[in-house]
């Protein structure tokens, strides 16, 4: 077995910061939703990594298998994945409505239109 050390956690941090940066820096709302997804995936990786034990198997009762990984974090993440998918679905359908209402999903353009609306 190759020891992975803290490698997983470095990936988690890189993904998390990438996701947050995309959410903050990008003006395109679609890219923001993608950034959110990357951010959520990093947390999913975090959970799955913490449950893994080097050399551990799936939690089954059988001869010769004594060390097993903690299944609970992985199970929890099934729920978190569902939540992530639902969030993206709601977000994307809102974007469709925004595209219909404003003709754009660029945040800057939307803001200019809203400002004009306020003046008139």
């Amino acid at each position: 077995m190759i020891s992975t050390g803290l490698y997983n956690y470095w990936v988690v941090i890189v993904l998390m910061m990438t996701g947050l940066y995309v959410v903050i820096a990008r003006g395109n709302l679609l890219k923001k939703i993608i950034g959110l997804n990357i951010f959520q995936v990093s947390v999913i990786m975090f959970y799955v990594s913490m449950g893994k034990i080097n050399g551990g198997t799936a939690p089954i009762v059988a001869k010769g298998f004594e060390v097993y990984s903690n299944p609970i974090p992985s199970v929890l993440m099934l729920t978190a994945i569902v939540v992530g998918v639902a969030t993206s679905a709601v977000g994307l359908s809102l974007l469709v409505r925004i595209q219909e209402a404003y003709g754009t999903i660029e945040e800057d353009d939307i803001r200019t239109e809203e400002r004009q609306e306020e003046i008139s």
Binding site: K32, A80, V83, A86, T87, G91, L94, Y102
Partner: protein
């Protein structure tokens, strides 16, 4: 014998709080008729309120209730657990759900096409499921799941506003809310790494043996930021004014009094029950961060509110300020401070949803929530505007209203902790509330109505009665304090570990 029976009843009523609205939300979709769906939502929300009220009585007299879902005992299974703190939060949240549902049909018909109503009611019930679930669950991961159920349904509810800006505010809330939820999840994961448990009660036991280390510190920070976004603590509040302004009036009245309150409860639960006073304040110095933010929220929220021309937006900024008071009470971490925070949660829910219902009435009759639309309304809609004045006085904390009760405890807490200047700041910021309420009063009572404006009548009884139920409650609980203050004080004692 009787106590065993009572215990059984209490335990079997607890899961109904989540199951009833969850199942009836799907039934709403099947019913498809606006009126039927509304009737179902009304019956369920009042039923759940009655259930919550009984459970509060039960908890006060017979002690906490614990229910093991699916028969799996805590700490392995998911536990539903009701003690004094969440029983009080539950009563106010379900009570607001019930009263707002009563007021809804007329206002909703104005803003949302009738063919969509049944879906609104399904979402309303789902949101209620999530909020009730967050409040009663004893499992940290379960809080996240219910948080997302309530958030996802509230994003959709907000997007149903009449203008297209409702859509952009909803997306803004979705992005921030998801970041908040994910940070919360991250924090829970870190506590799980340290303690190996997800049960809140068990976490507290394990953490007290672990003591402060870097992981626990980061976990507290992640949970603080995550819940802080949902709670709209000062610099994380930017989603709130837009969401409250552009959502349908009824949705605003519902969310303003429930979503942020439950988030506050979660914060209190984690800070006091899971991390504990010693770890959170003596080792991790939470108050150093939260106190200045709370003071800033009180002033910035109120000052920005003074300059708003849209009254719904003004009340939204006022919410930011009021959340500041609650966080202020929490960060004092003393008996009067925490009591003040919890009582203010209860009181603010009553007055803010009352005020937003007044705005729903104004919108129904004038077609606008702008300040200039309210010229002379004091004479044309006397009952509605009287409710606004009383609710507004309560926001400012005038004696004989609930606002006075909570500020009394906050000021007492600040003085006891030796922060006399903070007590002065609390009082000064209350004066600011008087300024923004006065602007409305002046326009409504001392300016003549628009001469060529449309004929404006008093709001319909179906909306006046619920509005006055809430505003009346602010007066009742302002004069008769044993219930709200008594329970909040007992809850604060429990959280701080003071034996009474």
């Amino acid at each position: 014998m009787i106590t065993i029976l009572l215990d059984r009843i209490g335990r079997s009523l607890l899961p109904l709080l989540v199951a009833a609205p969850l199942l009836s939300a799907t039934v709403c979709i099947l019913l498809r008729r606006a009126r039927w769906a509304w009737s179902l939502a009304l019956v369920v929300s009042w039923g759940v309120f009655a259930d919550a009220a009984y459970l509060l009585y039960h908890v006060v007299h017979f002690g906490p209730i614990s229910y093991a879902q699916g028969g799996w005992r805590a700490p392995w299974g998911i536990e539903l657990r009701l003690d004094l703190l969440n029983a009080l939060v539950l009563v106010i949240v379900t009570g607001i759900c019930a009263v707002v549902a009563l007021a809804a049909p007329r206002s909703l018909a104005q803003e949302v096409p009738e063919r969509k109503h049944y879906r609104i009611w399904a979402l309303y019930l789902l949101c209620m499921t999530g909020l009730a679930g967050m409040t009663i669950t004893g499992d940290a991961f379960n809080i996240f799941v219910f948080l997302e159920i309530s958030s996802l349904s509230s994003y959709v509810l907000i997007s149903q506003g009449t203008t297209r800006r409702a859509l952009t505010s909803s997306v803004q809330y979705l992005v921030m809310g998801t970041i908040g939820g994910t940070f919360f999840l991250l924090g829970v994961g870190m506590i799980y790494m340290v303690t190996g448990t997800l049960n809140i009660h068990d976490m507290a036991v394990q953490l007290s043996t672990v003591g402060p280390n870097r992981t626990v510190l980061v976990a507290l920070a992640c949970i603080g930021v995550g819940v802080g976004i949902k709670l709209a603590v000062f610099p994380l509040h930017i989603w709130l004014p837009n969401a409250y302004t552009f959502a349908p009036a009824i949705v605003t009245a519902f969310l303003a009094a429930t979503a942020t309150k439950v988030a506050y409860y979660v914060l209190v639960r984690f800070v006091f029950s899971v991390f504990g006073v010693h770890l959170a304040f003596n080792e991790l110095h939470l108050h150093v961060v939260l106190l200045p933010l709370a003071i800033l929220a009180m002033f910035m929220g109120s000052i920005v509110a003074i300059f708003q021309s849209d009254i719904k937006r003004m009340l939204a900024y006022s919410s930011v300020a009021q959340i500041g008071y609650m966080v202020f009470g929490l960060s004092l971490a003393s008996l009067p401070g925490l009591t003040g925070g919890i009582v203010h949660l209860f009181n603010h829910a009553l007055m803010k949803s009352g005020l937003f219902l007044v705005m729903a009435c104004v919108l129904l009759r004038t077609g606008s929530t702008k300040l200039e639309a309210m010229h002379g309304l004091g004479r044309k809609m006397p009952l509605t505007m009287a409710a606004f004045v009383l609710g507004g006085l309560s926001l400012a904390g005038v004696p004989a209203t609930v606002g006075f009760v909570s500020k009394w405890f906050l000021v007492k807490g600040a003085l006891e902790a030796g922060y006399w200047y903070l007590a002065v700041l609390v009082l000064l910021s209350s004066l600011l509330a008087l300024v923004y309420i006065w602007r409305v009063v002046e326009v409504a009572y001392f300016r003549p109505p628009h001469p060529d404006g449309p004929e404006i009548r008093e709001a319909p009884l179906s909306m006046l009665v619920p509005t006055w139920m809430l505003i009346g409650a602010t007066l009742v609980f302002g004069l008769y304090t044993p219930f709200s203050v008594g329970v909040a004080q007992a809850a604060a004692k429990m959280l701080l570990g003071i034996s009474s």
